[in-house]
């Protein structure tokens, strides 16, 4: 990263710092400089950085021991290359979140970040974040609002044509037919509403992972509505998890790499993937709450739960197959 870019990131950081309550002096420390250079390098070179950085941004800094989470490991290893003496403490997590926000807002990563990992920003409200972290995630969500939306016609002059639109048409066609290509039966044949929801939402990711997540998850909900599901039925996240766990065990779909390895290490923000990995071999609320870091008492309706499942499956598909 050249000096001009570093200056740009520092300016951005100071803007964020001003709003988050961290002092200018704290922002201008040598440690902050190291964080910017090392985290910037990590974002551009580490293949997992895109995914891990979103998890880091959603870390609840008020939870004791948050600095020991595995999702921090790779970035911190990189920082220690530049500064051996630095030791990771809980108090370092918020500055790291600020630095990552500033780097991403300055497009330092220059990756497909927004396409792949922005899916997870929808889970932010369930993370129980405190004031400052909420602001950080809020900035990021604002930064990525509308990320992945299709340009009509495509904005890229080098790629004429409606490739994404064709994908979208196929997705609409699949949804309207309500036919499961994986099971080779109509989705109507599943009388268990929770199994039906799971099968629709998970198969939808095969068709819609290249599309913008918000409208495509709305289409998944529309499919469920036309299948007679009551999308307004509200339960806590834990209740939905309890209903879905037996279905996942019955369906037995494996989590593809690289999400499999990454989520096995740290499953923050990914309750559905956690269930699919079934690492604990049983459903234990306390363990799961700690592992996935989301508020299991948070309420959401059936439509929102379907969208949640869809988003995690989209993340898996995007990480496995890429965005093209």
């Amino acid at each position: 990263m050249d000096e001009a870019k570093i200056k740009q990131v520092k300016d951005e950081l100071l803007k964020l710092v001003k709003q988050s309550g961290v002092t200018k002096a704290e922002a201008n420390t040598e440690k902050m400089d190291v964080l910017i250079r090392a985290a910037g390098d990590w974002l551009t070179k580490d293949l997992d950085a895109e995914f891990r950085s979103v998890q880091i941004l959603h870390l609840n800094t008020s939870i004791p021991g948050v600095h020991q989470r595995k999702c921090l490991e790779s970035v911190w290893n990189r920082i220690q290359v530049d500064w051996e003496e630095v030791g990771l403490e809980a108090a370092d997590v918020l500055p790291l979140q600020l630095v990552l926000s500033a780097l991403v807002r300055c497009n330092v990563e220059n990756l497909t970040y927004s396409d792949v990992a922005s899916v997870l920003f929808h889970h932010g409200p369930y993370c129980g974040l405190d004031g400052k972290s909420i602001q950080v995630v809020g900035w990021m969500r604002a930064h990525y609002s509308g990320a992945g939306d299709l340009g009509i016609p495509p904005a890229d002059e080098d790629q004429p044509g409606f490739a994404a639109v064709e994908t979208q048409s196929n997705f609409l066609w699949w949804g309207q037919a309500k036919y499961s290509h994986q099971s080779r039966v109509s989705f109507r044949t599943y009388k268990d509403k929770d199994e039906q929801l799971w099968r629709v939402a998970s198969e939808a990711a095969d068709w819609g992972h290249l599309l913008a997540v918000a409208p495509s998850s709305a289409w998944v909900q529309e499919i469920l509505l036309s299948l007679g599901q009551d999308l307004d039925e509200t339960k806590t996240l834990w209740q939905w998890i309890e209903l879905t766990y037996p279905v996942i065990q019955k369906v037995k779909g494996e989590v593809q790499e690289p999400l499999n390895a990454l989520a096995t290490e740290d499953c923050l923000l990914l309750p559905v993937t956690y269930l699919r990995l079934d690492l604990a071999r049983k459903l234990d609320r306390t363990t799961m709450a700690k592992e996935v870091g989301v508020d299991l008492d948070g309420k959401l309706d059936r439509g929102e739960w379907a969208a949640w499942i869809y988003r995690e499956m989209v993340l898996e598909a995007r990480m496995t197959r890429g965005m093209s």
Partner: protein, 389 residues
């Protein structure tokens, strides 16, 4: 009366009733009539029917045979919709059965009617219509829309930065079927309002420009019989290429358009259902250096339209339309703008917002729940509450 025993049902089960889910381990649609549908429901396809067709003893004799393909879940069967555009009879049927809204896009050849339709579909299905109080829910015309998108895609590839003739698409050909040349695109819409769970069918005419030219020119009703479905329209969008109105040949374009609006005013005076008319200046990006469109509140005033205010007849007809009770709107639109930095559609959403906000006004009844005191009978409380209120 005891029914004669029916032949054994075909395996796997297949049913002619589109509402039946018995073949998929669901329920018989006529369960109330036939407690043992496998042995006595006449809608299930049976051995003898397949071997010999419906014979004299066939209990289905005299019944209207539904095509097998009507069952959406039958393995190997076609979907209950072909994906093609709908014809007049489908539309008439839909208008009777469901909350459907009918919109005709009218205008001369190359006015940009199909481009507007495609552009709107692309925005709607991609979730980009943020101001529209509806979201995409279905379409019985997906295949047709895909084909239209393909044509637009081809047009975009061939279009030069200068825009050439300004024509993006080959104009929609007149259908060979002279009996029913009207074609409609179907879009199912779901209101964003969570209290409104309707599925609204929006039917948009996708007709050749030639038809509308004839429609405007020929006044006799008999001549326009084949366009009779248009009398049931909730709204008309009258489209004109803005470039033609600023060109030296603007009088011809204005005359064609004025004739068309005159016909719509006559229709309304004749008691037609029509509620709204929108005048759409299409391809507006190509005249933006000559005419700066006014802000929405001022768009009905001709003085704000620069060179376009010279179209006296057109503005007069719009005033006449407003005078007969039509809700009139004027919109500058660029469905597929030429400029590389402005490739997103301009103004398309607002046209459809105008139409739908006018034709789908619906006051939701507030659910009133009388407070039931603890230990009281709900029915008794309700009766008393009703008497009091």
């Amino acid at each position: 009366m005891s029914a004669a025993p029916l032949p054994a049902a075909l395996v796997p089960l297949r049913c002619k009733n589109p509402d039946c889910t018995l073949p998929q381990q669901g329920g018989c649609a006529r369960q109330a009539e036939f407690s043992q549908p496998l042995s006595n429901c006449p809608d299930l396809l049976r051995q003898a029917e397949r071997a010999a067709g419906a014979g004299p003893s066939d209990p289905n004799q005299g019944r209207r045979e539904e095509p097998e393909e009507k069952n959406p879940d039958a393995d190997g069967g076609a979907a209950p919709w072909s994906g093609r555009s709908l014809m007049s009879e489908d539309v008439a049927d839909m208008l009777w059965r469901r909350p459907a809204r009918l919109l005709a896009i009218a205008g001369p050849i190359d006015a940009g009617k199909t481009s507007l339709l495609v552009s709107f579909f692309l925005q709607l299905s991609a979730g980009q219509c943020k101001d529209l109080p509806y979201r995409f829910a279905s379409s019985k015309s997906l295949l047709e829309l895909q084909q239209l998108m393909k044509r637009v895609e081809d047009g975009l590839r061939q279009r030069t930065p200068s825009g050439g003739s300004g024509t993006l698409l080959d104009h929609t050909p007149l259908d060979g079927d002279e009996e029913d040349p009207s074609r409609f695109i179907h879009l199912g819409l779901r209101p964003r309002n969570e209290e409104d769970d309707r599925h609204i069918d929006l039917l948009i005419s996708d007709m050749s420009g030639e038809l509308f030219t004839q429609y405007g020119e020929v006044a006799e009703d008999g001549e326009n019989e084949r366009l009779s479905i248009l009398r049931r329209c909730d709204g008309f969008l009258v489209m004109v290429d803005a470039g033609k109105l600023v060109s030296p040949e603007w009088r011809k374009a204005e005359a064609d358009l004025s004739d068309l609006i005159t016909r719509l005013v006559d229709l309304k005076r004749g008691g037609a259902h029509l509620q709204t008319v929108g005048l759409v200046f299409s391809k507006f990006d190509q005249v933006i250096d000559q005419v700066m469109p006014p802000q929405p509140p001022a768009r009905l005033a001709r003085d704000h339209w620069g060179i376009l205010k010279r179209c006296n007849r057109l503005w007069q007809q719009l005033e006449a339309a407003a005078a007969v009770g039509l809700d009139v709107g004027v919109f500058p639109v660029a469905a597929f703008p030429l400029h590389p930095t402005e490739r997103q559609p301009i103004g398309v959403e607002s046209v459809l917002c105008h139409f739908l906000n006018r034709v789908d006004r619906r006051r939701l009844q507030r659910v009133v729940e009388p407070p039931v005191p603890v230990g009281a009978s709900p029915f008794e409380t309700m009766r008393r509450w009703k008497e009091v209120s």
